[in-house]
């Protein structure tokens, strides 16, 4: 299991939310997966930044692809814009998932050696898992 692991990019309107979710996912998964927090605007306000997403995709890629999780609808718009300009459909997947649960599930699956499709699927399946 020395192959590259899938990287994770968390795109949130809040830098703190992205960093907190990344920290939580890293702790739960054992810290072996590259998780990049791309939250907030370029000047630190609430919002999303295409520039941060571009850098996040680059920083998270280690050869096995990257799964991106957006928090709310307009984060999706920012990510889609970036993927249209820079995207490689095979190496980046945008997951439609609850942000925190999806981040944790995706990261754990990446840590276990799952491929990019398995990691994205783990994130998306998170919406069906009841916590009560």
């Amino acid at each position: 299991m020395t192959a590259a692991t899938v990287g994770i990019v968390l795109v949130s309107h809040s830098a703190e939310l992205a960093a907190g979710a990344a920290h939580l996912a890293a702790q739960v998964s054992g810290g072996t997966v590259t998780i990049i927090a791309a939250g907030g605007t370029d000047d630190g306000d609430l919002g999303t930044s295409a520039a941060k997403v571009v850098r996040g995709l680059s920083d998270a890629e280690s050869g096995a692809g990257v799964v991106v999780l957006p928090d709310l609808g307009s984060a999706v718009l920012t990510v889609r814009t970036v993927l249209e300009d820079h995207g490689d459909a095979e190496s980046v997947l945008l997951a439609d998932a609850p942000f925190v649960e999806g981040a944790v599930a995706a990261t754990v699956t990446a840590a276990a050696g799952g491929d990019i499709k398995a990691v994205a699927a783990a994130a998306e399946e998170a919406r069906h898992v009841r916590k009560l």
Partner: protein, 132 residues
């Protein structure tokens, strides 16, 4: 060469997020289908959210079951993790790499709220397409 295997353990501590993560990461590395049963509920051991959703607590009996070519190894590995990770102080904190954020320090410093950027959240810009 399919096999099935099952073992029961009494938890020494609650099955919180980190032990659940360690369990799911380990389970994901085996080919066998692996499940965890506690309190009458069964979860896929490869699903960290499913394992956390069991809400298994100290003193509860947990059954690890596996079916597949490496079932025996999978059950042995997961029982070891359950034994160690749920001990008091057993997996309170994993050593993880620092969370990486694409923002530099200047950009996460708090700034007075200002209006006017396209990227900021602004109620008048939320259209049905963008709203989530």
């Amino acid at each position: 060469m399919s096999a099935s295997c099952e073992q029961v353990i009494t938890l020494a501590g609650d099955l919180h997020a980190r032990p659940a993560g360690a369990l799911a990461v380990a389970a994901g590395r085996f080919t066998a289908a692996v499940s965890v049963t506690a309190g009458g509920h069964t979860a896929d051991a490869k699903s960290v959210l499913g394992v956390m959703g069991l809400g298994a607590t100290s003193g509860q009996h947990v059954t690890v079951s596996a079916a597949g070519p490496d079932a025996r190894e999978a059950v042995a590995a997961l029982i070891t993790i359950l034994t160690q990770a749920t001990k008091v102080g057993g997996l309170l904190r994993t050593e993880t790499q620092p969370v990486r954020d694409v923002a530099d320090l200047r950009s996460v410093r708090r700034k007075p709220h200002r209006r006017g950027s396209d990227q900021r959240i602004s109620p008048r810009r939320v259209t049905p397409d963008q709203a989530t």
